[in-house]
Subunit: 405 residues, 2 copies
């Protein structure tokens, strides 16, 4: 990759993104308020708003009377510019979900499908994706021609081809052309880490922190890194794979093929393994992963006399705190936002996690650090990625770092 030069087009692009995100946050706003909110000059805001009006992204909403001065024209993102569909395909768990959003990232309709058989064939998977998407569009009373883009959220993708058996989720990555042909629509694919980070940037904590890390906790664990209004992707879109950094050299076998990864200790399977080490006969040690983690959290929350559950949660909090301290050491963010279905399960452990992060982070790096739970869904995140892609296609932004799909 050649060294990227930021041009005046890029700075216009960045300013447009800043204005659009501020508009989304406000719902309705005016040029003056946007200038105040963004720190951009009124002249720059006027120019940008002109570009966005011309691109049909923003609409005027009539005159607004403020406390002082003349009435000014209200502005908002135009929800009816089109529709964006986010589709989540968790092939491993045969779970599919689609949400139709308007162009202001408002949710219009949602469909969830739990298939009762494991899908092993790419054609079957593509069929499910298409039918879930169609059902969601129908529920939203939306027409295909209004769809600006489809964002496909795929977990996984981190298996090393040589070491691990080819996992099914990866199979889909190899058949995106077929999916695109079937849909006849622009398709953007990304993993939950990047999608959640993009979601925080557009509709979440990205408004409050210039440098933040989103941490996704579930079967898989990983991070999304936001720096100065941009999601860091790295040379080949794998930046943020903190779940596959070392917790213990030559430690537990991780599903990715490496030994000792963070995921092998704080991912759901890792937590179950910790429980089995503490009490091999515990009933949750042989339960499903989700049932196990939620069961452990519930036992601790209820104050049940279950010392193995308490010890597992406690030990996991230390693993997680230590692993988060590694992110603090390398990235030194202002905030870490915990996300994913397991984040809530660890809610009560936040003080322990915070203390461990503070103890293990270098120097004063974690002193001002905010650690908080937040739930920006992966699907609104992939919708934001898809919106960025559409904005790029119509020439309004230059975001270069989207995966070349």
């Amino acid at each position: 990759m050649a060294v990227a030069r930021r041009t005046s087009r890029d700075i216009r692009s960045e300013s447009r993104l800043v204005v659009m995100r501020a508009l989304l946050a406000a719902g309705e706003s005016t040029r003056n308020e946007l200038a105040d909110e963004t720190g951009l000059s009124p002249g720059t805001v006027s120019t940008i708003v002109g570009d966005l009006l011309k691109g049909g992204i923003v609409v005027e909403t009539g005159l607004i009377s403020g406390n002082i001065g003349r009435p000014t024209t209200g502005l908002r993102m135009d929800p009816d510019r089109g529709r964006i569909v986010g589709v989540y395909a968790d092939v491993e768990e045969a779970y599919f979900e689609a949400i139709v959003f308007d162009a202001a990232l408002g949710e219009l309709a949602r469909i969830e499908v739990q298939a009762d058989v494991r899908l092993d064939d790419a054609d079957e998977i593509i069929d499910r994706i298409v039918s879930t998407l169609d059902a969601a569009l129908e529920r939203a009373k939306a027409n295909c021609v209004d769809v600006l883009g489809v964002g496909l959220l795929l977990p996984g993708g981190m298996q090393r081809p040589v070491k691990a058996a080819a996992a099914v989720p990866n199979a889909i990555w190899l058949h995106l052309d077929r999916l695109r042909d079937r849909l006849g629509l622009p398709v953007v694919v990304d993993n939950p880490l990047k999608a959640i980070a993009t979601g925080e940037l557009w509709v979440g904590a990205g408004r409050r922190y210039a440098n933040l890390v989103t941490v996704n906790l579930g079967i898989g664990v990983g991070a999304g890194i936001v720096q100065d209004g941009t999601v860091m992707r790295g040379a080949s879109n794998t930046a943020g794979e903190w779940g596959h950094t070392l917790l213990a050299f030559e430690g537990r076998q991780c599903q990715c093929g490496r030994k000792g990864c963070v995921e092998a200790y704080v991912g759901a399977a890792g937590i179950q393994q910790t429980l089995a080490e503490i009490d091999p006969d515990h009933p949750l040690a042989s339960a499903g992963l989700r049932e196990c983690v939620l069961g452990l959290a519930a036992a601790v929350a209820n104050g049940s006399p279950d010392p193995a559950a308490a010890a597992t949660i406690e030990r996991t909090a230390h693993y997680l705190g230590a692993a988060l301290a590694d992110l603090v050491a390398v990235i030194n963010p202002e905030a870490i936002i915990l996300n994913g279905w397991m984040a809530e399960a660890f809610d009560r452990m936040l003080p322990t996690i915070r203390q461990r992060v503070l103890d293990d982070s270098p120097g004063e790096a974690a002193v001002g650090l905010v650690i908080e739970d937040h739930v920006v869904g992966g699907l609104i995140g992939i919708a934001a990625v898809t919106l960025e892609r559409f904005l790029r296609d119509i020439g309004l932004v230059t975001t270069k770092t989207l995966p070349a799909l």
Copy 2:
């Protein structure tokens, strides 16, 4: 920290930095060549060159006849715009070094001082810094009034105040005001990680890679992260402290207070500890740290029959490769540049290190990764930081992320 908005001033600043770095690389250049080299438009380059001429940073060198077209005006950074002094103070080893650079980062004179006593008193340390700097200026026949700024390079600073005894290097950080008063000059302070990364950006690999990580290997180890022309500093200037991320949970005691840090395995003391684990009676196990590491490397290079040395170097290469894979997972850079006095000692192990990085990195993240040795000195790096600070003071750049010193 409020969310930073990039303004048109910032983009001008970035373009100016790009042009100055291209000029430094070329030595002498023309407006057209700079436009070709940087990808900026000829109009933008002309404007920028005008600003730099006005600021006295660049000078015209007369007409240059090219192969085609009319002769054009040559340009170069003006070395005589002033002097920049980089001072390295390794208080722990009582070692002081100062280099006087011209304003085009050319070295004019160097002084090295090895004190024969350990300095424990801040006044003594400040005296040494001032006298080393004065001696270097004298050798360079430079006058104090010509000095644009002094860059002070201080190792360490990562000790956690609570856990570790207050180390002497930190003491200096507390007395910078006194040093500034003594010198009567602008002083910029930074650690070697940030300085080396800034050096690569100005005069090294930063020209070839948009996203790179510099890794410093010595008594301490750490990283500098360069993303799109900027050194990542984080919320409190500690980004890049990879040396204090986990290699092994609850593993070896690190000097920073944490257990199991990368530095405790691949720093010089960690290597000696590995040797002592393999062969406690090995003569190098009780030698000085530098002597130990260089001795081990020499033994392996010479093919001496020293199985303990070979095993130590081999095991360290695996520790280092695994720890570098963690950087690949989180940052996903195009290149990792090894630096510091120990980098050379591991030269012969590069194939082992590379293979381990490839094996341990997630997915395909390390497939296109370049790992190479490079020696951009810390002092030219801190001089580049100082130059940036001077450029900011005269209004030519807006670089916001320098430590507030």
